[in-house]
């Protein structure tokens, strides 16, 4: 039983449903490894990818997932500059829904926008990133990749490194990982980590060497260029020295470490090229798991419900 109309975020999302998404994703991953990579699960279902913010990999990943499931897909991209007023967001959504669609996958720069969308339309909504709030499908694919690597998530030590304050990836990962029983530490510049983050159940450590020594996996966030501009991070080289996952730091470590990054990477800033290309990196596994995870989520939301749904 998977009783969710929308997929908006992982905060307060039931642990067993996260596990169900991951388990189903592994089943779809098998499909992706076949010569014919397509199943008829969502035949006749129409999904609109509504992207109000630039995205390459997330949009392609969703589109591929939809095509693999035989859904009909339409892509809509609007630059944020054409969105001076939020009304156009409401109007766009309602116009698209008027054409009879079943679900909307939306990326939007405003936190809470996917929640707002559910108030404006009746179709199912999948959050593909709402500003600095959540990016739940990314967290699912991250957790799937962790489970693939370690065979479990519970009790693992997972570090999230970078700009926690402005990261939807960090938020969704924290909610998901804590729910799944992992130990989570966040690491990054103190002015990019909210003071009250520990209320969410994570630890804070500003010492990257300690964090790397402690962790089973590190999820390295992209450091945004625009953060440099307003003086929060003095320079690329200082960031690399203080928080970069460098080859020296990795080589110093004895145990194996899973290296993760949601992309796109700033090689030489938050991650060294040698680290990104090393055997310990599971970054490209994350990409394929992203397609499988999104197939799983779309299927569970939109596919034929199991028998129990027909009861009563």
């Amino acid at each position: 039983m998977f009783d969710h109309k929308h997929f908006l975020g992982l905060e307060n999302f039931p642990r067993e449903d996260i596990q169900k998404i991951i388990d189903t994703a592994f089943e779809f991953k098998e499909v992706l490894n076949r010569p014919i990579k397509k199943v008829p699960s969502l035949q006749g279902v129409t999904i609109v990818n509504l992207f109000f913010e630039n995205s390459t990999r997330t949009r392609i990943s969703f589109e591929l997932a939809q095509k693999r499931l035989s859904a009909d897909t339409v892509n809509f991209s609007a630059s944020t500059s054409s969105l001076k007023k939020g009304e156009s967001f409401k109007d766009t959504a309602q116009n698209i829904e008027a054409m009879k669609i079943d679900a909307v996958v939306m990326r939007h720069p405003a936190p809470g926008s996917s929640k707002h969308l559910t108030e404006f339309i009746d179709a199912k909504v999948v959050n593909a990133g709402d500003g600095t709030h959540e990016h739940p499908t990314q967290a699912i694919l991250d957790m799937m990749s962790i489970q693939e690597k370690f065979g479990k998530i519970k009790d693992l030590n997972i570090a999230i490194i970078g700009d926690i304050n402005h990261s939807r990836v960090a938020r969704s990962n924290m909610y998901g990982l804590i729910s799944m029983g992992a130990n989570v530490t966040v690491c990054g510049p103190a002015n990019l980590i909210p003071e009250n983050i520990s209320d969410l159940g994570v630890k804070v450590n500003y010492d990257i060497d300690e964090v790397i020594e402690w962790a089973d996996a590190v999820n390295i966030l992209r450091i945004q260029r625009e953060r440099m501009g307003i003086g929060l991070v003095p320079s690329n080289r200082e960031y690399r020295r203080l928080f970069g996952v460098t080859s020296e730091r990795i080589n110093r470590r004895k145990k194996e470490l899973a290296i993760m990054h949601p992309g796109p990477m700033n090689r030489g800033v938050e991650i060294d090229s040698e680290v990104a290309d090393s055997d310990q990196a599971i970054i490209l596994d994350q990409v394929l798991n992203g397609v499988a995870s999104r197939m799983s989520i779309l299927y569970l939301l939109l596919g034929v419900k199991d028998e129990s749904a027909n009861e009563g």
Binding site: A110, G112, H116, T132, H133, N196
Partner: protein
Amino acid sequence: MKVNKLDNKVLLKNATVVDPLKESQSIADILLVEGKIAEIGRIRDLDAITTIDCSGLTLTHGFCDLHVHFRDPGNGDKETLESGSMSALAGGFTRVCTMPNTQPTVDNPESINYIIEKSRPLPVHIHPIGSVTKGQHGAELSEMGLMHQAGAVAFSDDGLPVQNGLVMRKALEYSKMFGLPIINHAEDECLRAEGLMNEGRVSTRLGLVGNPSIAESIMVFRDLKLAELTGARLHIPHVSTADSVKYINEMKNAYDKITAEVTPHHLFYNDEYLEDYNTNLKVAPPIRDSLSREALIKGIKNGTIDCIATDHAPHTAHDKETTFDLATCGLIGLESCFGVVKKILADEEGLSLIDIIKLLTISPRKIMGFDNNLLEIGKEAELVIFDDEERWTFQEKNIESKSKNSPFINQELSGRVKYTISSGQIATTL
């Protein structure tokens, strides 16, 4: 709501008459003749006059709100002086002070005259507040003297803080000549930055940029020190943080020309209520955490906070029906005020009814220098009659404002205004 001209003779029968000035309470009848109080006591029924049965209802001074936005001139799609006065009557308010952040800004005597003249036929007494600086730009002082002569009752750039400390100092010094308070929207714009809601655990979870409470309290502290330095009157609007309350309390012990208000929404809500990104709770200053809320209530109990003011801020549906980051700040509060304040301060916090009445009547009138001796023979009837026991669900149909941006819709409130009498008219809520 119905609004009718008062009949020549109206008998308000069997009311629980509360006079917050004399701190008295008794069951009495009040006879109104030509809109004025003619007799108070036990009055025999007379056949020829209109009688309103006030059994079980409380009758007291009409409420006074020293902080409303009626958007007139310039934004008649949100509110006008006419629609705003209907909103006030629905909430039991007979006297309000309008903020000058209109289009254009009320920064000259002609604009003051416009509001006074346009309000003259309206059933609510409307007093304009003039801006501190021209165009609310925070740079050059407005024509405070001429506005005072035209009838301005205070000066404020509300909505925008006077950022420049020197401008604030000079404004305080200048206003001393007229004895009128400066009302500064206290918020350090650099510390607030792009903040959308209170900075804290909830903003972190929601991914919304936080507006830290220190952005307010640091500015409140500056203004208090400048008021003390200059010897001027300072009124602090919509206090929202624990530190602001603390600083006001300390300064009041040292200097007596400080007053402060708090809004019903800051008393009712805490930031946990923003979980669903409800844009009707986007307001400046933001809804704070539960500790701040408790400090505000404590501030009322110990007298640090003088009065309640609604900061009634109407916005159209499309101003609010958007994502949280783009939604405008503000919410309407006149119609729901009494039910909210009664529920929080009396039912939950144990204040007496007369203390709540004071927060809505004699306290704001005293700050603004309005007549407080209202229950006197010969005075124009400026009264509210309410049922302090009624529990009711606030609904959109209870709103008389042109705008409906109230977070209180569907909230259960306690205490309900039945009649508002002002300027020879009587409003009957439905």
